[in-house]
Symmetry: C2
Subunit: 332 residues, 2 copies
Amino acid sequence: MKQTLLYLFAFLLLLQLAACAAVDDPLPSWKDGPARGAIVSFVEAADNTGSPGYIPEAHRIAVFDNDGTVWAEQPAYFQLFFVIDRIKAMAPRHPEWKDKEPFKSVLSGDMKTALSGGEHAILELVAATHSGMTTEEFENDVRHWIATARHPTSGRPFTEMVYQPMVELLGYLRARGFKTYIVSGGGIEFMRPWTEATYGIPPEQVIGSSLKTKFEIRDGKAVLVKQPEVGSLDDKEGKPVNINLHVGRRPVAAFGNSDGDLQMLQWTASGGGPNLCVLIHHTDAAREWAYDRTSHVGKLDKALDEASQRGWTVVSMKDDWSKVFPSGTSER
Amino acid sequence: MKQTLLYLFAFLLLLQLAACAAVDDPLPSWKDGPARGAIVSFVEAADNTGSPGYIPEAHRIAVFDNDGTVWAEQPAYFQLFFVIDRIKAMAPRHPEWKDKEPFKSVLSGDMKTALSGGEHAILELVAATHSGMTTEEFENDVRHWIATARHPTSGRPFTEMVYQPMVELLGYLRARGFKTYIVSGGGIEFMRPWTEATYGIPPEQVIGSSLKTKFEIRDGKAVLVKQPEVGSLDDKEGKPVNINLHVGRRPVAAFGNSDGDLQMLQWTASGGGPNLCVLIHHTDAAREWAYDRTSHVGKLDKALDEASQRGWTVVSMKDDWSKVFPSGTSER
């Protein structure tokens, strides 16, 4: 009996050792190369108390732009498709929209004319679809849309238009004690309903552009009502400003893909300790889209020059990723 | 040898069992009574999947006002003493203050005259002490002050003017899967440097009033500079608005002590599921201070009526707490 127990004990010990040895590659969609190398070196050092690159766990804050960095942003920011679908769904209650721009053109499918009104037209569309309701009603609008809408060229749900290598990277960082944040020019309340299921990032770690809200008592219940007034634009200088407001610490790792992310990367790079600044470069016309210096969406120009001057890591989607989207073969 | 190993194994098992049985009371400074009872019942149910009061862990958001709820607020909000001390420390670099109100009166120790200028005077003092520097420089100012300053009547460090029962409650909630937040009218960057060591609450779980910040490149480094312009006042309606902005979820437990916390409690109470709303009532003139409906600092009037109508929990510091401050016997 005692003998049996000891054998059992030894067997369990061996199982444990085998499990430790068989740890899978946490980044299977990243090819070997300088980009993967820079990321892994930084993370391994940050999590190693004996390394000069060690970072105490409380300071392991990693920030990720969303559009074009963690999910795609072509042929337009995905939130625009939400706006269009909401305008169509709300149209029966707004007969006046049939004769009123920019709504008229949205309803007839002519987005070029709809957006020809510039910033004013966009604000009108955002106000119509993102304000007047309570925060909970808006959350329900987003949940319904994200569960049913399809990307215009791939036909896939938008939550399948995420970059598989970046989802792996988010998990790898969290496994090494990093706290991961989304810091996006997109709407904070547009992202929060689905980031936890899609990226493993809870609502309180999502930072974005916002409309103001107003406290009201409706039918005896306290609610917050979304107002047609901008609270914060989370782009360019707005990104470090909002990270400081929400997190209260300077990040040590930042990931972006456009000039809108430049100030967030500069602020991360200026922390004085070990840091990792990464740009995702859209170089893969076959599997995704290829664009940079002259693109209307996700323009990457100044930040690309600064990355080269400062030695930041530039990820080529074509060369550094073995897979782009989770579905794999068909790609976009 | 084998025999020895087995005895060792059995001994370790017994140690483990003993440790489990000897769990201490997590709330030793709370007397038995309806307040403690309401808190413990809510928390135990929230953490019990079989209970109708069960709350999924992701929704266990607990928000705490700071001044008068987790630390004291008499004879004035503690941040005012920081302002006074900073004005004195900065005075040699500002000879013009000797002849200029409200600075002149602050320097001569006449706070009544200094504050007679009302909101404008306060904003001038806040701007002088809270803007113009980088966020990191301000953090250093706060760290130095909190480590050296003393409360005017007790002579103790301000971080020892915290309520021992509330510190125990924060730990108890976290042990039961709650995420604890400070939501204060005080300055967000005034609190963040010390809440982790004092309350176990990291900077990213501190919400407060804020000044705007501006992104700048100084000496080739990216920094955020504090501006003499209010970003947000985290009081009354501002509390639920900011909780929604920072957390993105409605809390299930809220703790306050004044009318400035009423809307935060109303919003928490209107969530539709199990919730706990608590007011700390300052009833103990001997160990702390006794004040409520007519107090200038921490006025508790409307919220006390609403607590009574809605059946919220009201904690009497005199009757429900066996100890007020961590130091115990001497009290204030």
